[in-house]
């Protein structure tokens, strides 16, 4: 946490309202995101209890598992989820635009441009909290290796047809969420926490209700009071008025409401199975339906407040103008989405349990590169983020006080003007340190020459982006009186050293992975929870 954000939190404490931590929106928000509010059963590894899911804030689809330990009911839940998620994903996969990509020609080994399809939009999944992202990943892991009856007639517990495909998409969303700055799968608490500083700690910010209470306190109440109510207030039945955003439920809810309801459901089901004639069966079917509806109502009562909170959060985020580089990062998400769509269409097997060495190294390199890119782009898009970088000595801003023309000492002298900047910042400049400023969206580099008057005046030599002629192109050199901001970090990230193709993996890293084989499904036992 930088001192600037600590200060924002302290201001939030004293004003009773969250303070801005960003002046623009740093994440892409789709016009039609798919919001997913899941609940799980305590103690089981990701066994779903229910969910609200959909793209229409007024008409979410309620999914519930009346007995979470029943495999058929769990499969029914996943099949229903697939019926919502997959059409949404397919809807984005259809419209494409032409794009160019550089590829290595397999015959000549040269880098050539090829024309490919790029999906015009990509799906966006929004969950309430970080634990929701983990659940998406877990659901993906638990379903992508499942076999349907069509794939394997001998499978002991065949999965409904589209469930393995759902697993592959959820896995892709979960993996992409690990790339800094990506927006395919977002946790609402993370995004809100990025844009507002509340008067509580980051640990407490994980509670969506409390976080929103600070950002948007009800009339006549401070953020602290509203947050406290969101965290702790219980109704006459001992239930939290603002249920946890999940996927874990409140133990008091499990013990007092859910467990008796599930027990009633189990009893109704046993009674139905033991019915002796049609009339009796009809009666008991009615009782079973009533018991099931009760559980559905319980699930709805715990997920609906969170569902509304997520949409309120989206409203607040939409009020912020989008950062200049957000579109570019979203294009990367679209590439990632298109790539996975093509892999699915090409009939490739699901993502393996463990990546091979080259894929894993590539993923790590991507995450590092994207982290650096995100940090640089956020600073360029947002003066408040840049202020943090200036405070830490990684950037400086000021007014140009003098420009002296100078030339390089080569056969064809090129312009190397010396620019003096007056600044209050204290950047960490060493001899010939490279600095960059944004010139029409492109980085222009300069090097540090000397500092005068105890660092108040910084002399820089501009190095590039001035055209080919002897005289610099108009507008390419700052003029006296201009406000400029230089950074010590690079604006664009270079790719690291190229890794070998997977077939060329050296023996030190396990050797070539061989043909991608379809991994076996998890062995199933009677007591399995998924």
């Amino acid at each position: 946490m930088s001192l600037i954000s600590t200060l924002a939190r302290l201001e939030a404490v004293s004003t009773g309202r969250a303070q801005p931590a960003a002046t623009v929106r740093h994440r892409h928000l789709s016009d039609r995101p798919l919001v997913f509010v899941p609940l799980t059963t305590a103690g089981e590894a990701g066994a779903p209890l229910g969910a609200l899911v959909g793209t229409d804030r007024d008409a979410p689809r309620l999914l519930a598992v009346p007995q979470p330990r029943d495999r058929d009911l769990r499969f029914a839940f996943l099949a229903e989820l697939a019926d919502v998620v997959l059409p949404y994903v397919d809807g984005c996969a259809e419209a494409v635009e032409a794009a160019e990509r550089t590829e290595t020609d397999p015959e000549t080994g040269k880098r050539i441009k090829v024309e490919v399809d790029l999906c015009a939009d990509a799906p966006q999944l929004i969950v309430p909290s970080r634990a929701g992202i983990d659940l998406v990943r877990l659901l993906g892991r638990s379903t992508r290796f499942r076999r349907t009856a069509e794939q394997d007639p001998q499978a002991p517990y065949p999965a409904p047809p589209r469930v393995p495909l759902l697993g592959r998409w959820l896995t892709h969303f979960g993996e992409r969420a690990r790339v800094p700055g990506s927006s395919l799968l977002l946790a609402m608490t993370d995004v809100l926490g990025r844009h507002w500083a509340t008067g509580q700690s980051t640990l407490e910010d994980q509670h969506l209700g409390a976080l929103l209470a600070w950002i948007d306190p009800p009339e006549g109440e401070t953020g602290a009071q509203a947050a406290l109510r969101a965290e702790l207030e219980r109704d006459e039945r001992g239930q939290l008025r603002c249920p946890p955003a999940g996927p874990a439920t409140d133990p008091a809810f499990d013990n007092k409401l859910l467990a008796p309801a599930i027990e009633r459901y189990d009893r109704a089901r046993t009674a139905l199975a033991a019915a002796e004639d049609g009339l009796q069966a009809d009666d008991r079917l009615g009782a079973l339906t009533a018991a099931e509806r009760e559980i559905r109502d319980l699930v709805l009562s715990r997920t609906r407040p969170t569902w509304d909170a997520v949409w309120r959060g989206l409203d607040r985020l939409r009020e912020l103008p989008e950062g200049a580089h957000v579109e570019e990062r979203w294009t990367r998400d679209r590439w990632s989405f298109t790539g996975h769509r093509d892999r699915v269409l090409a009939g490739e097997p699901p993502q393996p349990r463990r990546d091979d060495a080259v894929t894993a190294a590539n993923k790590l390199a991507t995450r590092e590169r994207e982290q650096a890119r995100l940090e640089a782009q956020e600073a360029l898009d947002d003066p408040l983020v840049m202020a943090g970088r200036r405070l830490s000595g990684e950037a400086f801003a000021g007014e140009v006080t003098d420009v002296v023309m100078a030339y390089s000492e080569s056969k064809r002298p090129s312009p190397r003007p010396l620019v003096t900047v007056r600044t209050d910042d204290r950047p960490h400049l060493g001899e010939r340190t490279k600095v960059y400023r944004s010139l029409g969206g492109k980085p222009q580099s300069a090097e540090f020459v000397t500092a005068e008057e105890d660092g108040a005046y910084v002399v820089l030599r501009i190095l590039d982006k001035m055209g080919r002629g002897k005289e610099p192109e108009p507008g390419s050199v700052p003029e006296k009186g201009d406000r400029v901001c230089f950074t010590l970090f690079e604006h664009e990230q270079r790719g690291g050293a190229k890794l070998p193709d997977p077939e060329e993996t050296p023996w030190t890293h396990g050797g070539p992975p061989g043909e991608p084989a379809l991994e076996a499904a998890d062995p199933v036992t009677e007591e399995d929870v998924l």
Binding site: T6, L7, E44, P68, L232, P251, D522
Partner: protein
């Protein structure tokens, strides 16, 4: 004239008074152990845990009930899994210990599983110690102690601990077994949960080492414990050896550093009592007479955290925003102080913390203004 009481019994007597008449002492559970490691400098937590006060009941009586609780689904599932692991005289559990920790030993067949039932924690501790000594008399045999009871001296008072199991190897060494119900998925588990299990096991190892030091010859307590979890999405056990040397060293150091409970008890006003039966204002006064060091991390480890948080916020303590916030503000510890210093109303500009704060405030104001103009 009664015989002069020893220091030990005097302290025990004093702690019983603090707990209140007829209130039984509460054993140190996993959460108290975690709080111990998370916040060793908190005198309030130290005395309450040391005296065996039920902090959950205390928090409710103070009007700031803790949000902890366990779902019966999790409980049922956890118990079912533990029973499955320990079924058939612990055959599967011992097979895992043999496979993961001691492959050179004879495979376990027909291990000894002594009965450890006894009355009261003291009785069960003595029984456990006896059986551990007894196991030493059977070299070459495997012994499984199911839910033994161990005692550990925590800042001057005895805390009773109950590990899931302790295994005595044929060479006489001891291993702690932790059975947890979070899954081991494709060979890896949630690092936060594994870390918590390792810290918990480290306390058991320390308690066993104290016990081992009293035996001749002293048996070795292994520093690799066995963590047993459900495999993937099934109910089948999968185990992994976890090296807890680091957690053991950290916990041992923090136990030594703990403010002596005696010293805290001496500073308390006469007649202080933490019984949940007392009226709320008296209880609040009693709790406030012991200083606390609240940090947001307490929320996940201590039942009293909501009470302490309210106090910390009322005082405007910067730490309620997190320890890192406190660390970068130098000598300024309250919200009002920091904001006044940032606005240039108070504070010495030569103080680097104050200078940095003013610079940060100026930069922030400039940036917000620039954004508002757009």
């Amino acid at each position: 004239m009664p015989p002069p009481r020893t220091r030990g019994t005097a302290l025990r007597h004093r702690l019983a008074e603090l707990r209140g008449p007829d209130v039984p002492a509460k054993a140190l559970d996993a959460r108290a152990l975690a709080a111990l490691a998370a916040n060793p400098g908190c005198a309030r937590r130290a005395i309450l845990d040391g005296a065996g006060v039920n902090k959950a009941a205390l928090a409710s009586a103070l009007g700031a009930p803790s949000a902890f609780g366990q779902s019966q689904f999790a409980l049922t599932r956890g118990n079912a899994f533990e029973a499955k692991v320990k079924a058939d005289g612990g055959a599967e559990l011992l097979r895992l210990v043999h496979e993961k920790l001691d492959r050179s030993a004879e495979p376990p067949t027909g291990a000894r599983v002594p009965d450890l039932t006894a009355t009261g924690p003291q009785g069960r501790t003595a029984r456990t110690a006896l059986e551990l000594r007894e196991a030493g008399a059977h070299p070459g045999a495997w012994t499984l102690l199911d839910h033994p009871m161990l005692a550990l001296d925590v800042a001057g008072s005895l805390a009773f601990l109950e590990p899931d199991a302790v295994v005595v190897h044929p060479d006489g060494s001891w291993t702690v077994v932790e059975i947890k119900s979070f899954p081991l998925l494709d060979g890896s588990a949630d690092p936060a949960k594994v870390g918590a299990a390792a810290r918990q096991a480290a306390v058991y190892v320390l308690a066993l080492e104290e016990l081992a030091a009293r035996l001749r010859p002293a048996p070795r307590v292994r520093h690799r414990i066995l963590l047993v979890c459900p495999r993937d999405f099934s109910n089948l056990p999968a185990a992994s050896a976890v090296d807890i040397r680091k957690q053991r060293a950290v916990t041992a150091r923090q136990l030594n550093r703990l403010t002596r409970i005696e010293e805290i008890a001496e500073k308390l006003p006469e007649g202080t009592c933490f019984s949940p039966e007392l009226p709320a204002d008296e209880l609040t006064a009693a709790v406030e007479s012991v200083p606390a060091t609240y940090a947001p991390e307490c929320l996940s480890t201590c039942e009293l955290a909501f009470h302490c948080r309210t106090r910390s916020r009322e005082e405007g303590a910067v730490t309620s925003l997190g320890r890192p916030a406190r660390a970068e503000l130098g000598g300024l510890s309250t919200v009002a102080e920091v904001l006044a210093a940032a606005r240039g109303e108070t504070g010495d500009p030569a103080d680097p913390a104050v200078a940095a704060l003013r610079r940060a405030a100026a930069l922030r104001a400039e940036a917000l203004e620039a954004a508002a103009c757009r």
